[in-house]
Every structure is written in C-alpha cells, then in structure tokens.
C-alpha cells in the first residue's frame, strides 16, 4: 500500500520555524523509501505525522486511497519501530510480540501461532521468554520489528532503527532488513541520517533539510545528480569550493569548470566534489582544467589513503585514493600535484531568480 503525504506542515513553537514545511511525496507500494537528512531536518516529525503520533498543522496523509489525516493512531494500522526500541520492559519477548494481538482480543491459539512464526522470522526462537533487558541491542531491535509486524501493518515505519547500535551490528542488521523486506514486501518508510543506509537499502530517497524536502529520487539519482547545493554537499561528504561565474564557466582559482549557459557574470558559485571524484596526477603543465595542489597531509585508512591538499586559493581539499592508485602516484608530504576537479557539481547561488 502506497503512502502519500501532501503539503504536510508542522510547527512546534508558535511563530518559530516550522519543523516540517509543505512536505509532499509518495512512498510507492512495496518499496523502501528513506527520509534522509541531518538531525533537526524534520524527517522524524514527518514519520510521526504519518504514524499519527503527531498531528499535522496542514496537509494530508493517505494510506493507499484512504485519507487518514484525522484517523487516530490505533486505527491507522501502521507498524512503527522506534529509535530506542520502546519495548515493554516488564513483558517477555513473547508477550511484547503478542501485545498488538492481545489488545485486539485475538484467540489465544492464533496469537501463540503467530508469535512463534514471528520469533522464527527474526531468528529469536530461543529467547522468547527473556525480558528485553536481557537481550543485546541488535536482538532488542529485532523484537521491535517482530512486534510491529505482528499486527500485519499496512506500512512499516522505521525511525532510525539502527541508530543506537555499534557499526558492525548496524551493517549486519541492514543486510537483515533488506532480506526481511524481500520476504514481506511491505511498504516501508525509513528515517535515517546515515547516507550509506539510505543508499544501500532504499528504492527511493527523500532528502530533507531544515523542514523542507530538497530532492526526491532513486539512490543513484541522488548521488549522481544532486538537485540542490545542500544535497551535493550532504551526500558523499563533498568538498566545497567557492568561486564566481566567468565567461559562462565557474572560475575556482585556476580551475574553470562546467558550462553554466546564461548565468550572470560575476555571480557566486559553489562547486561540490567528493573525495573519491578528484583525480590527482604528477605535475603535467599541459593538461586542461587543472592546477597545482600542495600535499599537506597523508593518512592511510585501511585500503585507501586520505590526501589533504591545499589549493592555490588557500582552500583545502580532501581526496581519497585507493592504495594501488596512491602507490602509482607516489607523492609525499610537501609535493605538488595536478588536481582534476572534473567530477564537481556546480551550483550558481541565487540563480533561480
């Protein structure tokens, strides 16, 4: 079942900046849609409004064809997995999972059968009688999933589901979630600030910033064709370089990049280039669109090397090279290298008059 929100707006403090402003998007049926953004971007508030835990000031929420903007939480039939798990600490794992069925007064036999199925689905068959406090974080999170799935929800809403876990468990659970989704095909909305999570898991990404939607698209679109300067900077931890428009190109120090068409001469330009998109070469004065950078720092991190460069403009640039690539380049601290910013995304500020 698809989820459509239209013009969703929420203000917590009267007169303050809206936490969410005019959010409109559709989460397609059977897909994972990710709301991605830094903390305070309003993504969790959107999720809570879809769940019905927060009332929208304006706008509508539809589940399939059903307008449920005014529907109370308990009648929406949404499964929610909360950031801090929110398991019932006084109930065993089994009773936690059974909760949604017990309050619906389903027959005992049916509840027992369903709980066993779900325990198997989340691979916790042996731990059904434990209390939540006796489980690891990852196990607790899987109980939270089972509990949400028990009510056969129309959609699954996940609020930073892996936020409190250490990085190894996060990656494991990510794979597990992808598998779970292949089995259930539930329409899923995932809130996260972790772009790797968003790019790996979802079919659609909604990037949010300061309560507004910046871009909606597939993970590849978001990564390859950022629609706004914010998305360009946020995705892939891009370097930011500033310059001006000169003869229809972005002039960044000695670099001239892009074809900006009718952009007014002299407007401010921002260029975003990801650490892995910069190409370095040993000094070769004939190559176009290149200039020299001073190698300030070299940090080896496992299989790649982080190169800290200072450009002639004084701006700093972080570049990541594969180990083999770095060895082929063979530079050391204090050397000058040719910098190719060919992959940079360029945004002219205030161009959209």
């Amino acid at each position: 079942m698809s989820v459509t929100v239209e013009g969703l707006t929420k203000k917590f403090a009267p007169g303050g900046r809206p936490a969410v402003h005019q959010a409109t998007f559709t989460a397609p049926s059977g897909a994972i849609t990710t709301l991605l953004g830094p903390s305070g971007s309003g993504k969790t508030t959107v999720l809570r409004m879809i769940a019905g835990l927060e009332a929208a000031d304006a706008g509508t929420v539809r589940l399939g064809a059903l307008d449920c903007t005014r529907l109370p939480v308990r009648e929406r039939g949404v499964g929610v997995v909360f950031q801090g798990y929110a398991l019932f600490k006084h109930l065993s794992v089994r009773r936690n999972i059974a909760f949604g069925l017990e309050v619906r007064r389903r027959p005992k036999a049916e509840i027992d059968r369903r709980v066993e199925e779900l325990l198997a689905l989340v691979q916790l068959e042996a731990l059904g009688d434990r209390l939540p406090d006796q489980l690891s974080g990852g196990q607790q999170q899987r109980v939270a999933f089972a509990r949400a799935l028990a009510i056969e929800p129309r959609v699954l809403l996940l609020d930073e589901p892996f936020g409190a876990l250490d990085s190894r468990v996060r990656v494991e659970l990510r794979t597990w979630l992808a598998e779970l989704h292949r089995k259930t095909h539930l329409t899923t909305i995932l809130v996260t600030h972790d772009q790797d999570e968003a790019l790996e898991l979802s079919q659609q990404v909604v990037v949010m910033n300061e309560g507004r939607i910046e871009q909606i698209g597939s993970p590849d679109e978001i990564y390859d064709r950022p629609a706004t300067a914010f998305v360009a900077a946020f995705i892939g931890n891009a370097n930011v370089l500033r310059g001006t428009v000169k003869e229809g190109q972005a002039a960044l120090g000695a670099h001239a990049l892009g074809a900006l068409g009718s952009a007014p001469e002299g407007s401010a330009v921002q260029a975003f280039v990801r650490p892995d998109e910069v190409k370095l070469a040993r000094a070769d004065p004939d190559a176009p669109a290149m200039s020299l950078g001073l190698v300030e720092a070299l940090t080896r991190i496992g299989g790649f090397v982080k190169v800290g460069l200072r450009l002639p403009s004084g701006e700093r640039l972080t570049v990541e090279l594969g180990k083999a690539e770095f060895e082929a380049l063979s530079v050391s601290q204090g050397d000058r290298v040719l910098v190719d910013l060919g992959g940079a995304k360029i945004f002219v500020e205030d161009y959209s008059i």
Binding site: A51, L53, R74, R76, V80, F82, A86, F99, V103
Partner: protein, 277 residues
C-alpha cells in the same frame, strides 16, 4: 566497584569506626530507646492488660475509625495522584506550574492550619456552615471532616512518588502501544501502570502510614467525641492525659507496629525491584 566504594575514597580505620560508633549511639538514643520504651510500657504489665486495653470500646472505635479514614483517603489520593502525575508528565497546558506547586502545598502547610481551613469552610460559623446546617449535614466534629482533613494532608504522597518516575520514563512505550492498536485504557493498564508500579506502591504505603498517623489536622476537625470522632492518635493523647499509661502505650505500640510494617514493606519492595534489575 563494590557498594562500599573503592580503596581510594576509604577513610582510615580509626575514623571509620568512631564515625560508625557515633552514628549508632545517636540512632540508639533518638530512635531505638524511645521505640523500645513504647513497647515496654505497653507490654510491661503483661500481654493480657495490653489486649484488654485494646478491647476498650472507645479504643476499639478509634481503631475502626482510623481504618475507615485510611480506606477512604488512600484510594482517593491514589487515583488523584496518578491522574495528576499523568497530566503533568504527559501534557503541556496553562497552569501546569501552578498545579505542580498546589500538589506540594499540603506538605508545606502546618497540619493544624490544614484542619482550621475545613473548620472555616464547613464549621457552624464557616462559609458553608449555614447551608450545611439547613440540610442537617455535619462535617466538622464528624467523620466526613476527619476524612477530608486526612485526605488533604496526605494528598501529595502518591503524586510525588509517581510524577518523577513518569517524567524520567517518557512516553515511548505508550506511543508504541498506541501504534499497536491499544486503547487509552489498555495503554494505561498494560503499559503505564506496570512501568510506575514500584513508585505507586511506595506512594500508597507512605500515604497510608500518614493517613493513619495524622494528628494535627484531624485533632482540629474531630471535636474529640469519644467513641465517635477519635482516631488512634487522638485516642493515644486522651488516654495519656488520663494517666491510663497502659492504654495509651497499647494504642501507641499498635501505631508503631504499623509504622514498622510500613517500612519493612517498603524495604522488601525496593529489594524485589533491585533483584529484577
């Protein structure tokens, strides 16, 4: 780290033992000796005299009245305390600060004043006095007044125990229950109540102890009608003033016993909570 602390923060043996000795001596003089003397006075002339003293009709009436008062006040304050704590912890509304302060008021007011308030309201010369008299309803110098005064004095206990618990626990679990389809009452009985149960029971125990032991406020509204409006603490005073020492200390020891049962119950509760963690 053990419960007694690390070596680094431990004092020299001499300091430790003399500090412990001082504490025990002080506790012995101020608590153990008086408590023991109550029991000695009560049982000094044999258990038979003790039981006979409790079987005095007026004393027996005082015991019943005390139980009745507690049986009304404690449930009232439990319901009110939980409701008020729920309201304050979960919602933002105008006057929230005022309500929170008002809940504490009975703690800060002298019990005698608390009693006087009700005399001024419902006494013959009071605000509602003529109205009550016209309908032949007696509140002051009667059981309703005693219940009212006791309820007033013990009002904060449950709310004060439950409120910080609710505030620190937040409402994530309640939200989860709602998304799973629980109704408001189901959320309360299946999620909120179990979450606050230890604080709630502690609050009820303390509330009950105070309800049974309250002297000042009840003394003002009771009128000391023997066999009718005397609670146990008032009965103790009357018997004592009449030099009926065995009687006075018998009732007193009963009250003391109640206090000790209360404390032991509270302690057991805390221990079972610690085990669960």
């Amino acid at each position: 780290m053990s419960a007694t602390g690390s070596d680094a923060i431990r004092e020299p043996a001499l300091v430790r033992y003399s500090a412990i000795a001082v504490a025990i001596a002080f506790l012995g003089l101020s608590v153990v000796v008086p408590l023991a003397s109550v029991l000695v006075q009560a049982f000094g002339q044999g258990a038979g005299r003790f039981l006979a003293a409790l079987r005095e009709p007026e004393t027996w009436a005082a015991i019943r009245l005390t139980l009745l008062t507690a049986a009304i006040s404690v449930p009232l304050n439990t319901a009110f305390g939980v409701a008020a704590a729920w309201l304050i912890a979960r919602y933002d509304f105008r006057g929230k600060g005022v309500l929170t302060t008002l809940i504490d008021l009975p703690f800060s007011i002298s019990p005698v004043i608390a009693g006087l308030i009700f005399v001024l309201l419902f006494g013959r010369q009071g605000l509602f006095g003529p109205l009550l008299e016209a309908h032949d309803v007696q509140i002051i110098f009667a059981v309703p007044g005693i219940v009212l005064a006791t309820t007033f004095v013990t009002l904060p206990f449950v709310a004060r125990e439950v409120l910080p618990l609710m505030q620190s626990q937040g409402s994530n679990e309640e939200e989860a229950a709602l998304t799973l389809g629980a109704s408001g009452w189901q959320v309360f009985f299946r999620v909120t109540l179990p979450k606050i149960r230890f604080g709630l029971v502690t609050g009820v125990i303390l509330c009950n102890a105070r309800a049974m032991g309250e002297f000042g406020a009840v003394s003002v509204v009771s009128g000391h009608v023997r066999g009718l409006t005397n609670t146990m603490p008032l009965q103790v005073e009357i018997l004592y003033n009449e030099y009926n020492l065995v009687g006075a200390f018998s009732v007193a020891s009963l009250l003391t016993l109640l206090a000790m049962v209360t404390l032991v119950a509270k302690k057991l509760l805390e221990r079972s909570k610690a085990v669960r963690r």
